[in-house]
């Protein structure tokens, strides 16, 4: 069942947490709300959960406005950033909470909780208190608790934010598998683009209370709608440039920028590290540079080069290619842009 967020706004005093946001969340989908802090993603999540109300707008789900129903009647499961487990209740009673308040029969509660304990792989820990669990275990209990009453919508607020890298990685994959088995419409909030890309079908990128781009991870990564999106989605080299009549100039190099016709004005060129070409000999559209530092990153090698007037740039290439070039610090090389994006200083239009 699709959730339609329709022109939703929410202000806190003079601060617009959500500024006329509209969004379609496909039923059964797994959507990530991605953005820096203060972008409004958590506010949107809390509005969906019923913990906050927008000043204007509607949220249509299953033919009715979700906003007309109080939180407890929305059939929503919510996993809090810091889990918010009931610290005076053990694991079993935490998971059973939604069923207890609905006064379900004992046998049903027991069966359901045991099923969920198996699902989160914590069978046998049902009498532990939350304070006796590791971060990853608490996280899974919080998820099981949210799923106990079979919600129609599952919401997660920075679900992996407080965990260390390895546990986070495991839980991401686990959440993805879980979603594929259950198909409950899921929305999760994150500021980590890697997490969003790895888990979600759809990524909604937010900035200052607005949605700036919606798409699959591949779409937003390959076709960022703005320089904000581009910068937010991982490391990128930024070079000062000028653009005139569809041509951008960066130092001695020139680039096609067909979306930026018109007279000369300042622009920025964005080049991702893996899109920076390294060569040993001079060629057309190459600029001289010197290798400053080599940093191995798993299968890849990061190369920091000093390109004179272009500044210090980061390149990334695979180890095999690096070995072929025989790179070492201090070496003179030539750099070029395999792919670059040009945005005018006002942030619009891409190449």
């Amino acid at each position: 069942m699709t959730i339609t967020v329709d022109h939703v706004s929410r202000r806190f005093g003079a601060f617009a947490a959500l500024d006329d946001v509209s969004l379609e969340i496909p039923g059964g989908g797994l959507v990530a709300l991605l953005g820096p802090s203060g972008s409004g993603k958590t506010t949107l999540l809390r509005i969906l959960a019923g913990l906050d109300r927008p000043d204007s707008g509607r949220v249509i789900h299953d033919g009715s406005d979700l906003l007309d129903r109080p939180a407890r009647e929305r059939d929503v499961g919510l996993v809090f950033q810091h889990y918010a487990l009931f610290r005076h209740l053990d694991v079993f009673e935490n998971i059973a909470f939604a069923l207890r308040v609905r006064k379900r029969p004992r046998a049903e509660v027991r069966a359901r909780v045991e099923e969920l304990l198996r699902l989160i792989q914590l069978d046998g820990l049902d009498r532990r208190m939350p304070s006796q669990l590791s971060g990853g275990q608490r996280q899974r209990v919080a998820l099981a608790r949210a799923l106990a009453a079979a919600p129609r919508i599952l919401l997660l607020d920075e679900p992996f934010g407080a965990l260390d890298a390895q546990v986070r990685q495991e839980l991401r994959l686990w959440l993805r598998r879980l979603h594929d088995e259950m198909h409950v419409t899921t929305v999760f909030v994150t500021h980590d683009q890697e997490e969003a890309f790895e888990v979600a079908d759809q990524v909604v990128i937010m900035d200052r209370g607005r949605i700036v781009q919606v798409g699959t991870p591949a779409e937003v990564f390959d076709h960022p709608a703005s320089d904000f999106v581009l910068r937010f989605l991982g490391q990128v080299n930024v070079l000062g440039a000028t653009v005139a009549h569809g041509q951008a100039r960066v130092g001695a190099l020139s680039l096609a920028a067909p979306d930026l016709p018109g007279d000369e004005r300042p622009a920025r060129v964005y080049v991702r590290p893996h899109e920076l070409e390294l060569a040993l000999s001079e060629g057309p559209e190459l600029a001289p540079a010197r290798v400053v530092r080599l940093t191995p990153l798993g299968a890849a090698l990061r190369v920091e080069v000093d390109a004179g007037e272009l500044g210090r740039l980061q390149a990334e290439l695979d180890r095999g290619r690096a070995a072929d070039l025989g790179l070492r610090a201090g070496q003179e090389v030539w750099i070029g842009f395999r792919r670059a994006r040009v945005f005018a200083e006002d942030g619009r239009a891409a190449a």
Partner: protein, 310 residues
């Protein structure tokens, strides 16, 4: 940074720091002696004196003083007042704590200040406030007289004055706990389908129960021991409006020292029971989950309850 040298560098100053924290032996002895002497002079000695005076003329006089009809009426009245005041303050305390910890509203700071007002106001003044309001020459006096309602020099007045003096005890306890823990668990409960009452009884109450129990005990002790405010509104009618502390004063003024101290020893018993109950609660509360503590920072109880010796 390499591990080995830095570790060696850390150990040495830590040892020296431990030395720096340890006072010389004579300072320790001197401090402990001063504390022990002070407690002995100001607590142990008076307690012993009260008990000694109470039993000076033998156990017979002691039991007679307590079995006296006026004393029994005073005990009955004190228990009645306590049974009314404590539940009243419990309800008010929970409501006020909830409002203060959960909502940001205009006048919140004022409410916090008002809750502490009885601590700042002399109990005698508190009593006089009610006389000014409800007394025969008070603002509402004529209206009350017209409807034949007696507040001053009667049970309602004593209840009002005691409530006023004791309401901060319960209200103050849960506020720090609730503010420290935030509303996350309550929000989780609501999203999981709990009604307001279910949320309160299943989530909020378990979190604040030790703080509340602590507050109730202090409130009970103070309600039983309150003298000043009650003295003003009660009228000292023997057998009718005398509470235990007032009865003690009357006996004392009539030179019945043994009887006065016998009844006073009842109040002392309440005080000791309070201390024991308090220890038990602090012990219980610190066991299951450290966060459920009724705030470990509570060093100074605002009042020594029941320590009213004429």
């Amino acid at each position: 940074m390499t591990a080995a040298p830095s570790r060696a560098a850390v150990v040495a100053p830590a040892d020296r720091a431990a030395d720096a924290r340890t006072e010389p032996r004579w300072v320790q002895v001197a401090l402990i002696t001063v504390a022990a002497l002070f407690l002995g002079a100001f607590v142990a000695l008076p307690v012993a004196a009260v008990l000694h005076q109470a039993f000076r003329d033998g156990a017979g006089v002691f039991t007679a003083a307590i079995a006296d009809p006026a004393a029994r009426a005073a005990i009955r009245l004190t228990l009645t007042v306590t049974l009314i005041v404590v539940p009243l303050n419990l309800a008010f305390g929970v409501a006020a704590a909830w409002a203060i910890a959960r909502f940001r509203f205009r006048g919140r700071a004022l409410l916090i200040t008002l809750i502490d007002l009885p601590f700042a106001v002399s109990p005698v003044i508190a009593g006089m406030i009610f006389v000014l309001l409800f007394g025969a020459h008070g603002v509402l006096g004529p209206t009350l007289a017209a409807h034949d309602l007696k507040i001053i020099f009667a049970l309602p007045g004593i209840v009002l004055a005691t409530t006023f003096v004791t309401f901060p005890f319960v209200a103050r306890e849960p506020i720090p706990v609730m503010e420290a823990q935030g509303a996350d668990e309550e929000e989780a409960a609501v999203v999981l389908g709990a009604t307001g009452w279910q949320m309160f009884f299943r989530v909020t109450l378990p979190k604040i129960k030790w703080g509340l129990a602590y507050g109730v005990i202090l409130c009970t002790a103070r309600a039983m021991g309150e003298f000043g405010a009650v003295s003003v509104v009660s009228g000292h009618i023997r057998g009718r409006t005398n509470t235990v502390p007032l009865h003690v004063e009357i006996l004392y003024n009539e030179y019945q020292y043994a009887a006065a101290f016998a009844v006073a020893s009842l109040l002392l018993l309440v005080a000791l029971a309070t201390l024991v109950a308090r220890r038990l609660i602090e012990h219980r509360a610190s066991r299951p989950d450290p966060v459920a503590l009724p705030t470990a920072t509570r060093v100074e109880p605002p009042h020594v309850p029941g320590a009213l010796v004429p």
